[in-house]
């Protein structure tokens, strides 16, 4: 028991000596007020206090009391000397400290910077420095903590992406794009049927019906449009107004029209069957004014931002012709010229690039596959018909964008 007690005393003594030695090896430091650049003096003073507090928490330093520091600084006229290396070294020696912490808190183009460096009083060398930037007032304490960790060579809390960087990247950017472009496309799945459904074929069945799998068409003029929207870290959405116009060139169209034609003069029907249509030039002229939205994913590679997504638009469709309608033309019926306005839909898949040319301007390039759905009434009097088709276009768009901050 006695032996054990003696052993315990020795252990305590050794531990005490070790701890004493440890305590003695803790360097004494002075933390100077952060130099203020374009920010308020109060803000710099508060940040200095936070820095002192964070350094104390590490238990790696003994800090000279602020009042003593101020007295010595006043005594040697430190303010007049400024933050020169001579002044810092003299101050350090008078205070009898090992290291001096000094730094700057400033702002450049609304971005905050905090830089802290450690000067060895013995050698006059800067032995460590660390910087944080882009933090907000709400994250001031964390910014100081991160600086202190970096000065000690430790990984800072929050890793390489502190919360303020996430907030910046998730901020919405507003933009406006004006675009134009050319497109190639065709009319697909043309379907026409008589609006009258009580003929020889039976009740509820159109008296004639016709289809054409494909009708060649060309852009009448370049598409135009405006896009206005928001962009976040990896998602974007915008509102779009666009105008697209196509016309059919002269062509032979394969069609399949079958049924009956009503002859009012004799109040009777006769059978019709057409398998080819000889469309004159500009037989159909179609216009789509679209109001819709785009949703896309994007990522950033330097100044280039590729994206892909999808879009939907509500269309005000106009279809014009010097003939009453495609079905009427097919079975040789004359009537009032077609001039129809109707609602339709557009679905498209945009794939593109935005190339920044300055902080507020960018160029816009897009390839877009679009399907405009048309559904309207054509024909005249006894020969009114319901037409439907899809205008499928492959659009190459180029535009200019402006970012609003």
């Amino acid at each position: 028991m006695k032996c054990n007690t003696k052993g315990l005393y020795i252990l305590i003594l050794i531990s005490g000596l070790y701890l004493y030695g440890q305590n003695n090896s803790i360097p004494t430091i002075a933390v100077l007020n952060l130099e203020n650049q374009d920010l308020s003096i109060g803000e710099a003073a508060v940040m200095t206090e936070i820095l002192r507090d964070e350094l104390l928490k590490t238990q790696a330093y003994k800090i000279v009391e602020k009042q003593r520091l101020n007295e010595v600084m006043a005594e040697i006229g430190f303010q007049q000397m400024g933050f020169t290396s001579e002044g810092v070294l003299r101050l350090g020696k008078i205070l009898n400290v090992d290291k001096i912490f000094l730094g700057t808190l400033g702002e450049i183009q609304k971005v905050r910077f905090l830089t802290v460096r450690i000067v060895d009083v013995e050698t006059g060398e800067v032995i460590a420095s660390a910087t944080e930037k882009g933090f907000t007032v709400q994250h001031a304490e964390l910014a100081v903590t991160r600086v202190v960790y970096k000065l000690q060579g430790l990984p800072p809390p929050g890793g390489i992406s502190p919360p303020w960087l996430k907030e910046i990247s998730s901020e919405r950017t507003k933009y406006l794009i004006g675009f134009t472009g050319w497109n190639a496309g065709n009319i697909l799945d043309f379907h026409a049927k008589s609006a009258f459904k009580n003929g020889p074929a039976g009740s509820g069945i159109p008296i004639w019906e016709g289809t054409a799998p494909e009708i060649e068409s060309k852009a009448s003029f370049p598409n135009f449009g405006l896009r206005l929207g928001y962009q976040r870290e990896s998602l974007g959405a915008d509102f779009e107004i666009s105008l697209l116009s196509h016309r059919t060139p002269a062509q032979m169209v394969f069609a399949d029209i079958k049924g009956h034609q009503y002859i009012p003069e004799i109040d009777n029907y006769y059978a019709v069957s057409v398998d080819e249509l000889d469309f004159p030039d500009n037989f159909l002229r179609v216009y789509s004014l679209g109001f819709g939205g785009n949703f896309y994913f994007h990522s950033s590679f330097g100044t280039v931002r590729p994206y892909a997504g999808f879009g939907v638009s509500l269309l005000m469709n106009m279809v014009k012709s010097d003939y009453p309608g495609p079905g009427n033309f097919g079975i040789g019926i004359e009537g009032e010229n077609l001039n129809s306005t109707s609602l339709g839909w557009e679905f498209h898949i945009p794939i593109g690039l935005q190339v920044n040319i300055s902080s507020t301007k960018f160029l816009y390039f897009e390839f877009r596959i679009a399907q405009n759905l048309f559904d309207y009434i054509s024909g005249d009097v006894f020969q009114e018909e319901e037409d439907k088709f899809t205008l499928q276009t492959f659009q190459f768009l180029i535009g200019f964008g402006r970012i609003f901050k």
Binding site: Y175, F196, N198, G229, F291, T341, L343, Q383, E384
Partner: protein, 338 residues
């Protein structure tokens, strides 16, 4: 039909003083009024005024138009009489609302001065505009049943051409927040059918045609509804997109009994129908600020109004329904209260 009209008017006239009293008593206490509460009071008063004045004059306009047609005056002259009465009603309703807005400002000036925020902004607006419109999916069915219990006949026509009697007019008031705008709107929309041959598909009769004379139908609607708009990013002007729904008081008048009977009446109004229905729309527009108190706006609006009424006489009585598809372009001006 006329009984319904009178009944509606009597109910509205009776309700007006009741509501007015109940709301005006609230406005006397200004101690705890906030901007929002004050505006709620204004909305209540305005709604009552709009419902009362607009409806009253709309109906009066219909009576004038009907009387003019009965007296053998031209449909154009009859329409002018309708327009005059309806515009007077709309104008009175608008100016009453404007007076109420002055009351609102007075309430605010005596209310809580701690409310320094300018959001949301309350405003009033007026607009006019043109439109392209067509009757689509017209369906008429006989109200007389056949031996099998089904209507004696059913006729449909896909499209009937119409033209604008006069530019659409309207006014409303709204609350504009950071993201959303909510508006209550009253408007007048008036069209007529142009001279045309309309063919129809009928059961059991086969295809037929009607040569409709000019202004066969005079179609007027008083609409009251709600718009909800979403602000898009501001770019000097404030663009928005929106949706809306509305209750319609639809009036159809004609010198003819109905599409199924083209016997023109020389000394009487043969079709005079007022029915309630509904409609909806999408909208896209921009608002431009003129000053702290005023703004201009331009809007494109595709609308669908539904009609459902009875026409014809005796065994020729029929039930008609159609959709009125309208593409409206409007220009308006707004006035902020705060």
């Amino acid at each position: 039909m006329a009984t319904n009209k009178i009944l509606t008017m009597v109910i509205l006239v009776s309700l007006h003083p009741v509501f007015s009293q109940s709301t005006s008593s609230n406005t006397t206490s200004t101690d705890t009024l906030t901007r929002q509460k004050a505006f709620s009071l204004i909305i209540k008063n305005t709604l009552i005024n709009q419902a009362y004045l607009s409806t009253y004059f709309f109906m009066a306009g219909n009576s004038f138009q009907g009387r003019a047609l009965s007296l053998g005056k031209s449909p154009t002259e009859a329409t002018i009489q309708w327009v005059s009465a309806s515009v007077v009603g709309l104008g009175l309703s608008y100016f009453t609302t404007k007076t109420l807005s002055q009351e609102y400002e007075d309430i605010l000036s005596s209310g809580d001065r701690n409310e320094i925020s300018n959001e949301p902004r309350y405003y009033q607006y007026i607009y006019t505009g043109g439109s392209i419109a067509n009757i689509t999916d017209f369906k008429a069915e006989s109200m007389t049943a056949g031996s099998d219990g089904n209507p004696l006949w059913i006729a449909t026509t896909p499209k009937v051409k119409t033209s604008l009697s006069f530019p659409s007019l309207g006014y409303g008031f709204g609350v504009s927040g950071k993201r959303l705008v909510r508006e209550f709107e009253t408007s007048l929309v008036s069209h007529y059918t142009v001279e045309q041959d309309v063919s129809y598909d009928a059961i059991p009769i086969p295809i037929g045609t009607i040569a409709l004379p000019d202004r066969f139908f005079l179609i007027n609607s008083l609409t009251m509804g709600v718009n909800v708009n979403y602000w898009l990013p501001e770019i000097g002007v404030k663009p928005y997109i929106g949706l809306g729904g509305r209750m319609l008081i639809n009036s159809i008048q004609s010198q003819y009994p109905g599409p199924g009977d083209l016997t023109q009446s020389k000394g009487d109004l043969e079709l005079d129908s007022i029915t309630l229905n509904w409609g909806f729309h999408a909208s896209v527009g921009v608002r431009s600020t003129l000053s702290n108190k005023r703004f201009l706006y331009a809007e494109f609006r595709p609308l669908r109004h539904y009609f459902d009424y009875e026409s014809g006489k005796a065994t020729g009585k029929e039930k008609d329904q159609f959709t009125f598809e309208i593409f409206e372009f409007r220009l308006g001006m707004g006035f902020y209260y705060n």
